[in-house]
């Protein structure tokens, strides 16, 4: 298993992927955090026209606000990476090389998954560091008091948020991996994943009241939020785990039995 993880890590750490992903998450982190602090007097400085005031940001929870805001996009990035890294083995024809060197197919699958989870941890950690650093840098200009941020309450909130965002990011990543194994084409897997999560689920939850609590993307995303009044954290955790476990069981079974003919 360690060999598979190490081999997969060699692919993930290639500069074009590792550096571009780091650049994207860093850019998003700086952009979203900056918008919150630089537009604090505009009346709508966060997503969907919502507003967060300097007083709110001065609370202990203010330390993780920017980070939480980027979480949804981290999920999308993870979905794309997990999907492409899985499906490309089919399009490049490299799966046959992997299976000749490691014929235990489940080891390949689980090893790939673990390596990508480690990559997701790296991605979330980078985002957390940059958003917190950017928040500290921008807070004085926005007249936000940071005294409560480094307290145990603030750090505990940041820790919880980190854990939830990580779970959500990994959840979206696994969602992408399932699509990658199912469609065996990076473009199709990513297109379906992005369209489903960004468009279809949003239309469904807007059109059908109460449907959000049944939709996989909404539940995985809600984990990153730490739960909302409409959708509890525990329910989202269970629903996401159920969806991912069923999806993974189906594609793992296909992966194990399917002929490698390309």
């Amino acid at each position: 298993m360690l060999r598979v993880i190490y081999a997969e890590a060699r692919k993930l750490r290639r500069p074009t992927l590792a550096l571009s992903t780091t650049a994207i998450v860093a850019g998003l982190s700086v952009l979203f955090t900056s918008l919150v602090y630089l537009r604090i007097n505009s009346g709508h400085n966060t997503r969907r026209g919502e507003f967060v005031s300097a007083a709110q940001l001065s609370q202990a929870t203010g330390i993780g606000y920017g980070f939480k805001l980027v979480a949804a996009f981290l999920g999308l990035v993870a979905l794309c990476i997990f999907a492409s890294q899985t499906a490309q083995e089919y399009t490049y024809g490299t799966l046959r090389n992997l299976l000749v060197r490691q014929p235990a197919r489940m080891k390949i699958l689980v090893g790939k998954c673990i390596a990508m989870v480690v990559f997701a941890i790296f991605m979330v950690t980078v985002t957390a560091i940059i958003t917190v650093a950017a928040s500290y840098l921008l807070a004085p200009g926005a007249k936000v008091n940071t005294n409560l941020w480094a307290t145990s309450a603030g750090l505990s909130y940041l820790g919880h948020t980190f854990f939830n965002v990580l779970l959500s990011t990994i959840g979206f990543g696994l969602f992408g991996m399932i699509l990658g194994l199912l469609f065996r084409s990076p473009i199709t897997a990513i297109s379906v994943g992005v369209l489903w999560n960004l468009i279809l689920e949003n239309i469904l939850s807007a059109a059908l009241s109460g449907s959000a609590k049944w939709l996989p993307g909404q539940n995985i995303s809600n984990i990153g939020e730490g739960g909302t009044i409409d959708l509890s954290y525990t329910r989202s955790l269970l629903m996401s785990a159920l969806y991912l476990a069923v999806g993974f069981a189906i594609v793992a079974s296909l992966f194990k039995k399917r002929d490698v003919a390309n």
Binding site: R3, V4, Y6, A7, R10, K11, R14, T16, L17, Q88, Y92, G93, T94, R96, N97, L98, L99, V100, R101, Q102, P103, A104, K257, D259, V260, A261
Partner: protein, 304 residues
């Protein structure tokens, strides 16, 4: 321990209603070079994939290095393979691509550079795979197949895209490996290459094995051709008549007479021509090449 590198019995793969491989039976002795030939779509790659555990046979059995093909984990650590052309990650360098496979198989990383040097890619080790020419990609595929220091090397069209010197190098490499005890199972369209190196041959047509055994036995079993050329072209019709009156099939090809007959008849033919007042400028007996035999056996008309 079995003295066979590969053995298959009634191996069959059916896709829908089409049998890609149908009741294939053949054996490849250890330490030999075995050519695996057949027209496009004959089922060569499907057979190779079944041997490597990549696709499951519909029926039949097989062993590789004495282990069932249903347990690839038992023999794959000792098998090197390049199947249907080289497939690597375009954004990784040649060396990095090999390192991925070396990590996966648990082979020493030092072997990567040794093998890249061996296949002539030492100076392009750090270049991305996507920048490689077809020949270089092929060389990298061969290097990847050699990573485990294999006891059995399975190569599917290893000389595709290689220039003549590259083809020569691959041929020499296969000979060298076989001399060191490695069994080589190689499919190729270059039959002249196969004829030069393969002691054993497995020939497929429409998913069926139409010959398996020593290359020598196959070629020896073919009817030789006596090629004769009269000193004066005007004597050609008389020469044709002599051959046909003796009960042999004769045809004129490019100013030469081709007679299908046993090699021993050439002396009689020479005497009959002399008695008819014809001087032969050329008289030779040739056996059909593997390529000619292949066409004879694999074309519908030849096989029926």
């Amino acid at each position: 321990m079995s003295n066979l590198a590969i053995s298959v019995s009634n191996l069959t793969k059916v896709y829908g209603e089409r049998a890609a491989v149908s009741s294939a039976n053949f054996e490849v002795p250890l330490g030999t070079i075995c050519g695996f030939v057949g027209p496009n779509g004959a089922g060569k790659t499907t057979t190779i994939r079944m041997l490597l555990g990549l696709i499951a046979p519909t029926s039949g059995t097989g062993t590789v290095l004495g282990h069932s093909i249903n347990e690839p984990e038992k023999f794959l650590p000792y098998v090197g393979a390049m199947i249907e052309g080289p497939a690597f990650y375009p954004a990784l360098s040649g060396a990095e691509n090999l390192r991925v496979l070396a990590s996966l198989g648990g082979f020493p990383q030092e072997r990567v550079m040794e093998l890249l040097e061996l296949v002539g890619l030492g100076d392009r080790a750090k270049s991305k795979f996507k920048t490689y020419s077809l020949g270089m990609k092929q060389r990298l595929g061969i290097a990847a197949a050699l990573l485990p220091n294999p006891r059995l090397l399975i190569l599917d069209e290893p000389t595709n895209g290689l220039d003549p010197s590259g083809i020569h190098e691959v041929r020499e490499l296969m000979k060298r490996l076989a001399a060191q005890g490695t069994s080589v199972f190689v499919s190729s369209h270059l039959l002249s290459e196969i004829e030069m190196i393969a002691e054993y041959l497995v020939m497929l047509r429409n998913g069926k094995v139409i010959f398996s055994g020593k290359t020598e036995s196959l070629l020896e079993a073919q009817q030789p051709i006596i090629i004769a050329k009269p000193e004066y072209a005007v004597d050609m019709p008389k020469l044709v008549a002599i051959a046909q009156q003796s009960g042999h099939i004769a045809s004129v090809v490019d100013d030469e007479l081709h007679v299908l007959s046993p090699a021993e008849w050439s002396a009689t033919f020479n005497r009959l021509a002399f008695e008819a007042g014809i001087t032969l400028a050329n008289l030779a007996t040739v056996r059909p090449s593997l390529e000619e035999t292949f066409f004879e056996l694999t074309t519908e008309s030849g096989a029926n």
